[in-house]
């Protein structure tokens, strides 16, 4: 309890015009961003500077200019202290195949400074929490990708850090594994009280998991705001109705009636065949829902669907980065 209150009142990660330049490329360009407690998504295409940022945050790579703090500790001077309090899950494979998960995670716990007995206890606990049971005594070489990702997550959590940095944790997982991993990431904060910074180049998966999303591109900050901001500024309603004898084209009838009531209705088809029956309208609040319900009922139509069309995070790119490669990738997944 005490710990949670401490975490609550500090900024977990703060960077101030942080830049990292290599001889040929600028990986980070005056990035200033504050990350609070909770689950934060760091989104960007490959090469956007996500991994570079993580290296700097772990105190392993000096910034060219600017400064950064993690848990209130300066990355330039307090690297070792930061690494004791932070967990890191790399993007790439990092597990030796000929040892068991238990053996490996115990070793990593000791490498984080846990005494031998505590290392064993915490390993058993953590492996259970990430969902590895009997398998944990078998050599890692025989694990599935999903199990390996869990071991990688376990080694990042075993020393009970205050913050974990997860680099592309859903890479290589099938849809079910992806959902399980995202659920696990959510629980890291809600159940364990550990703040999470999770990177991904896929925007769609982060909007479900994160409280806050930071979008970087070409080393620059594109946008940083909470996921609710991303999606709730305008809520779009999708409506689909049945046709009756009285109104052979129910969709049109609803559209005309709503138009008459002063509600702007868009065609939801996007030119796609078969989608012509979907109407999109902007919900102003509770009353829009009531209005739709009443209109449909008055016309005697059946309401097949009335759902919130959430704005996808990918839409940030439409405005800000129309022509970049990111857009293609983001749209490809986001829809």
């Amino acid at each position: 309890m005490v710990r949670v209150t401490i975490v609550d009142c500090v900024t977990v990660i703060a960077t101030e015009s942080l830049s990292k330049r290599f001889p040929r490329v600028t990986a980070l360009d005056r990035l200033s961003v504050d990350v609070g407690p909770g689950v934060t998504g760091l989104v960007g295409a490959n090469g956007a500077g996500k991994s570079t940022l993580i290296k700097i945050l772990l105190g392993l790579s000096p910034a060219t200019e600017g400064r950064a703090e993690v848990l209130g500790l300066d990355v330039a001077t307090k690297g070792a202290d930061i690494r004791e309090r932070v967990g890191y899950m790399p993007e790439h494979d990092c597990l030796p195949p000929d040892v068991s998960a238990t053996e490996f995670v115990v070793h990593m716990a000791r490498m984080s400074g846990l005494p031998p007995t505590a290392a064993r206890e915490r390993t058993a606990d953590t492996l259970r929490h990430v969902g590895l049971y009997e398998e944990r005594y078998r050599p890692i070489g025989g694990y599935s990708t999903g199990m390996k990702q869990r071991v990688k997550l376990a080694q990042a959590l075993v020393h009970d850090p205050q913050l974990v940095l997860l680099d592309e944790p859903t890479n290589g997982l099938d849809p079910v594994g992806r959902d399980e991993m995202l659920g696990l990431i959510r629980r890291i904060y809600t159940d364990f009280g550990i703040s999470v910074l999770v990177t991904s180049h896929l925007l769609g998966e982060l909007e479900r998991t994160c409280d806050h999303v930071v979008v970087v591109d070409g080393g620059k900050l594109l946008r940083s705001s909470s996921t609710t901001d991303f999606m709730q500024t305008t809520t779009t309603l999708a409506i689909e109705v049945t046709d009756t004898d009285e109104h052979p084209d129910g969709t049109r009838a609803v559209r005309e009636t709503l138009d008459a009531r002063g509600v702007e209705v868009l065609d939801g088809s996007n030119g796609l065949p078969g989608a012509g029956h979907i109407l999109l309208l902007t919900a102003q609040g509770e009353e829009t829902y009531d209005l739709v319900r009443d209109v449909v009922a008055d016309l005697g139509l059946g309401l097949v669907r009335m759902e919130q069309r959430r704005h996808h995070i990918s839409e940030v790119f439409h405005g800000d980065a129309e022509d970049r490669d990111v857009t293609k990738e983001a749209v490809g997944h986001g829809s």
Partner: protein, 302 residues
């Protein structure tokens, strides 16, 4: 399972025992030096296959036995025949067994560092409190210790045997001590050379081949040249040639300062003056190996 069934689930607190939520860790965090020591002990155990698969225990254990058996036989012979001295000097033992030692370092140096590179475990280590220097020191110290165990154990067998055979105590203790100093130097030198070569490649096979090649080719070349020089009676050049292979370096140091008789052709070891050069070269090589490892791992990072 069947055993648990008679225990009827009593309502109340007992059912809750299984539902342990996440527990925070409030215990001590022992920091960087403890982490370095943990890496040292894990690597040292790993050098004998402990904590790893059965398969990886076979070779190091076998080599350890092969190192000790001749010593045990010599002791048995010495005790049985009531000899006045051991058949082999303490300092000479490692030189005779150099093939076994080379094989050990060739197999275990890549095991120690190439695996971490190959499976990319190194970045994980550096995401912990330890620094590059801690990693290098832990790995170097672990392999050097493992080699010291390998080379000192047979000396201990000889020493204990010599005492059992009631050989002169002072004489034997002095010889044993000189032998320990010599194998300690040998362990540091061989471990350094092995690790530097192994840390270049993530492929274990390459590492093994390269270490064996460097150790045996250098020794083969040096001893051949020395034999030729001996045959041509240019004995003055023999000690200088010894500077160019690890085994002959150790031989030179111990014949100059540790009372050993040289294994060079005609037993022409270095004089004391030349011996100083030997010691400097050995220490310089050890320092160079350490420096190269540091340079190598500064680049590896995340």
């Amino acid at each position: 399972m069947a055993v648990e069934q008679p225990l009827a689930p009593t309502p109340g607190d007992q059912t809750r025992i299984h539902n342990i939520g996440y527990r925070n860790y409030d215990g001590p965090r022992l920091g960087r030096s403890y982490a370095t020591r943990s890496l040292y002990s894990q690597s040292l155990r790993g050098a004998y296959g402990l904590g790893r698969s059965v398969k990886s225990k076979v070779l190091p254990m076998l080599l350890f036995v092969v190192m000790c058996v001749p010593a045990a036989i010599m002791v048995a012979v010495a005790v049985a025949t009531k000899a006045k001295d051991l058949p082999v000097d303490y300092t000479r033992y490692a030189i005779i067994m150099q093939a076994v030692i080379s094989l050990y370092v060739a197999s275990q140096a890549p095991q120690s560092v190439s695996r971490d590179l190959r499976f990319k475990t190194v970045p994980l280590y550096f995401s912990r409190p330890i620094e590059t220097a801690d990693y290098v020191r832990a790995k170097y110290a672990a392999l050097a210790s493992a080699m010291f165990i390998l080379t000192a154990a047979p000396l201990l067998v000889l020493y204990v045997g010599a005492l059992l055979a009631k050989l002169d105590f002072a004489d034997q203790t002095k010889g044993f001590a000189q032998g320990l100093v010599s194998v300690a130097l040998l362990s540091l030198l061989f471990a350094g050379i092995g690790l530097v070569i192994a840390s270049v490649t993530p492929r274990r096979g390459f590492g093994i081949a390269a270490v064996i090649a460097v150790l045996t080719i250098s020794y083969g070349a040096v001893s051949t040249l020395q034999a030729i020089a001996d045959a041509q009676n240019s004995t003055r050049s023999i000690p200088w040639m010894g500077l160019f292979s690890p085994v002959t370096l150790i031989d030179g140091v111990q014949s100059a300062f540790l009372g050993a008789s040289s294994a060079f052709p005609g037993e022409i070891g270095p004089t004391n003056g030349e011996g100083v050069v030997y010691v400097l070269v050995v220490l310089g090589l050890i320092a160079a190996c350490y420096g190269l490892l540091m340079r190598r791992y500064r680049k590896v990072g995340l």
